[in-house]
């Protein structure tokens, strides 16, 4: 892709330390956010020399002959618009004979290098001798003070496509508009006389100008703009109906001018999102309280004198079904939560029997794959129980102290895992053999203890054999592999201490993942999405914003979802 004159390899030759991003950045892909870090060795006038670190630029040739002749350079990489605002500063270290300098920007790869920035097509510059700004023109526009031995900053705001300059840390205001829209911009500088020397700061060190504050202002104003956009009615509509439902089009025209959503509609939509989230994660009491309060609120409201929009009516109907629906809903949540928590607690038998009773479809889908997985886990639990007994036996022989690594493991449960974690007692005992129960052996002696261990082990093996027999006809590779992997754990004295896959199979995390999977399978069997709509909404929105950044929309950098919506304060 690169023409031979501009290999862009110069930065690879002596990679400078990547400076910190100029403005906070939330987009991960590195190539998009490759920032300018040095003057290009290739794309510069022959009278200019660049130091090895790419920061210092000096003029050492014969002085330019014509008044308008100059020597310019640009960076090896363009500015990624996704950074939102880009800013750099140059310091004039030596003014040489005259100190005629221009600081600014080049657009595109092929700007002529024998003029000062601003005097050529696709270039913009702030000139030291006149203080004028030049936007690809012969005669500049009075803009700011002249400068000699100062620090001059140049910024480009991709949300507004305006460029500004600073002098010794003071903002001079906007100089250019409408730049950098569909073309790459490079920081650039032009010198004219022997002995002129500048050093650039692309974020290598703190700036003279308080760019953070400036960015903050921009960020706030972008967010205010987003918040002031009215919600579009299309958000409420379901895909195909959008175009062919005449009733809806009709009502839209009548009742929702400018097709923005009314407050009542927004409320109803948000309520649904929140409610389905609560149901998904099994926050049954909260869901119930929310529904009850919402219904009370509706009853207190006088009935509207005329029908609202169609979608509004549907909401009313749904909620008006009264308390029978509410209770059946909450028992459904409670049942599912009980099952999921049983798996988390290691009580696989309870989970299996309850699922069979209330959600038989779950075990029918995919030819009983879910049941198989649960039974495999049951086997794991039995083996763990046996190995735990054995371990306790050994510990009690050597030292009588209580080893509490089991308890530590239970503390490791991560809250982020998509499992309702409100049954604290279940998490506490945790299904793993409680450390206190077997930590000290009764005085009866170790024979009976040894027998206990053997019994536990043979129970596990027996269960495994039944399992093997039950599924011997199932040739699905997923089933075969899971079985092999599961059964193999008996080969280890303490599978939890083993590394790699074995430890993974028996880990508490695997159990939680299984609980999560069961939760989703039950939800799917009831026609619910496997991810709460609210979560999809967050993910989808974040993806849209990221994609906007990738496509060069500067404002995306300031539509900072996690900062605006998820920050702790």
């Amino acid at each position: 892709m690169s023409p031979p004159t501009d290999s862009d390899d110069d930065s690879n030759a002596s990679p400078p330390r990547e400076p910190p991003p100029v403005s906070p950045v939330l987009l991960p892909p590195v190539h998009v956010l490759r920032l300018p870090t040095r003057w290009s060795d290739q794309v510069k006038h022959s009278s200019l020399s660049v130091t090895a670190d790419g920061r210092d630029l000096s003029y050492n040739g014969s002085a330019c002959t014509g008044e308008r002749d100059a020597a310019a350079a640009r960076t090896s990489h363009p500015i990624p618009p996704a950074c939102g605002i880009y800013y750099y500063e140059i310091e004039i270290l030596s003014k040489g004979q005259k100190g005629h300098i221009s600081v600014g920007l080049f657009a595109g790869r092929d700007v002529k290098l024998n003029r000062l920035p601003g005097c050529e097509m696709n270039s913009w510059g702030y000139h030291s001798d006149s203080g004028c700004s030049f936007a690809a023109e012969k005669n500049g526009t009075p803009y700011g003070p002249t400068y000699v031995g100062d620090i001059i900053g140049c910024g480009i705001d991709f949300t507004s496509h305006k460029a500004f300059f600073t002098k010794n840390g003071t903002l001079l205001g906007n100089a250019f508009e409408g730049i950098g829209k569909d073309i790459e911009l490079y920081p650039s500088v032009g010198l004219q006389h022997n002995g002129e020397l500048i050093r650039v700061n692309f974020g290598h060190e703190p700036f003279k100008f308080d760019i953070d504050y400036h960015v903050q202002q921009q960020r706030n104003s972008t967010w205010r703009k987003i918040l002031s956009t009215p919600l579009d009615v299309t958000l409420l509509l379901d895909g195909p109906q959008k175009h062919n439902n005449e009733d809806r089009d009709d009502s839209k025209g009548k009742h929702t001018p400018q097709s923005s959503i009314s407050e009542a509609q927004t409320r109803s939509m948000m309520n649904k999102l929140v409610l389905s989230y609560l149901i998904h994660h099994g926050y049954a009491k909260t869901a119930q309280a929310l529904q009850r309060q919402e219904m009370l609120l509706k009853m207190k409201l006088p009935q509207p004198s005329k029908p609202v929009t169609k979608s509004g009516d549907q909401d009313m109907d749904m909620d008006a079904n009264g308390s029978t629906e509410e209770t059946s809903l909450s028992t459904a949540i409670e049942r599912r939560t009980r099952i999921v928590n049983a798996v988390v607690a290691g009580d696989i038998d309870l989970a299996i029997s309850e699922t069979e009773k209330y959600h038989p479809i779950v075990f029918e889908t995919e030819a009983g794959l879910m049941l198989f997985k649960l039974r495999c886990r049951k086997f794991v639990e039995l083996v763990l129980e046996a190995s735990e007994l054995k371990k306790r036996l050994r510990t009690s022989q050597s030292k009588p102290s209580v080893d509490d690594d089991v308890m530590e493991m239970s503390m490791d449960v991560d809250d982020d895992i998509t499992i309702a974690r409100h049954s604290d007692n279940a998490m506490g005992t945790n299904g793993f053999v409680s450390s206190t129960t077997y930590s000290t052996w009764p005085e009866k002696g170790k024979e009976s203890a040894t027998t206990l261990v053997e019994q536990a082990l043979s129970r596990a093996i027996a269960y495994g054999q039944v399992l093997a027999n039950d599924y011997k006809a199932d040739t699905r590779s997923e089933v075969r592999q899971l079985f092999k992997r599961t059964f193999a754990i008996v080969a280890w004295d303490d599978p939890r201490e083993a590394g790699g896959l074995v430890a993974e199979v028996v880990s508490l995390e695997a159990r939680i993942n299984l609980a999560n999977e069961l939760n989703q399978t039950i939800l799917r069997s009831q026609g619910h999405p496997t991810r709460p709509a609210l979560e999809t909404l967050c993910r989808h929105t974040a993806t849209c914003v990221t994609q906007l950044g990738l496509l060069g929309v500067g404002a995306a950098a300031f539509a900072d979802m996690s900062r605006e919506l998820f920050s702790e304060t």
């Binding site: 895909g239 009548k254 999809t536």
Partner: protein, 227 residues
């Protein structure tokens, strides 16, 4: 115009999957909604069930909700008294809010057919303020037009709108926001911010790319391009 970037559904789903969002963050979004929208008992339950520290004390939610309910059943006088009980500065420092409450009171008079009182009230309380502020005057004119049409269905929708529950909700929302602000809490529900960000993002991205759209109601993705 450069050609539109096309992102297929499976690719989009993969990116969705890669977004870093924790359950804790989502839970806080829910808590914010319950508190600001005033679902006191739900917020209490949620702080238990999700093990979250509530951002405010639950009593402040209750008094906000009493005020909102008063407005929603049309008892403007009660609402004003309660707001002043809570903090007299709220109305003193917010003339627009006070005007909108008085306007709502006028609307309630008209709704109840207490025409003489309505006119008296408009003359005493609203007209002097309308002279001060052009926005107030426009609103006053719009409200007085209700009398002219006597709530007949042939009245322009922009005027009939004033009698709808949405108008009460609008006033109630304004009061709610002012109280939250006086408690230096966030006044905008973060979930609303999220929906607006979605609107903004999808609209901008539509100009540059084809990508699956979100059906907010059920959280499904739809390829609108058809391919």
């Amino acid at each position: 115009m450069p050609p539109k970037h096309v992102i297929r559904k499976d690719e989009w789903e993969r990116r969705l999957h890669d977004v870093q969002i924790t359950k804790n963050e989502l839970n806080r979004l829910i808590m914010d909604y319950l508190v600001i929208e005033g679902y006191k008992s739900a917020a209490e339950e949620f702080s238990q069930e999700a093990n979250l520290t509530p951002p405010v004390d639950f009593e402040s939610i209750e008094s906000r909700m009493d005020i909102r309910e008063a407005l929603q059943r049309g008892d403007v006088e009660e609402a004003i008294t309660r707001v002043n009980d809570l903090n007299p500065e709220i109305l003193d420092t917010n003339p627009a809010l006070y005007f909108h409450l008085q306007q709502q009171k006028l609307i309630e008079y008209i709704r109840q057919g207490r025409i003489a009182e309505a006119i008296q009230f408009a003359q005493d309380e609203l007209a002097p303020r309308g002279e001060e502020n052009p926005e107030f005057l426009t609103e006053l004119e719009r409200t007085m037009a209700l009398l002219a049409f006597e709530s007949s269905p042939s009245a322009p929708p922009a005027i009939l709108e004033l009698l709808s529950p949405a108008q009460r909700m609008k006033t109630a929302g304004e009061v709610n926001a002012a109280i939250l602000e006086s408690l230096s809490q966030g006044k905008e529900v973060k979930l609303v911010g999220l929906l607006k960000l979605l609107s903004w993002g999808e609209t901008l991205l539509e100009e540059k790319a084809e990508f699956p759209k979100l059906m907010v109601r059920d959280g499904t993705l739809v390829d609108r391009g058809g391919s």
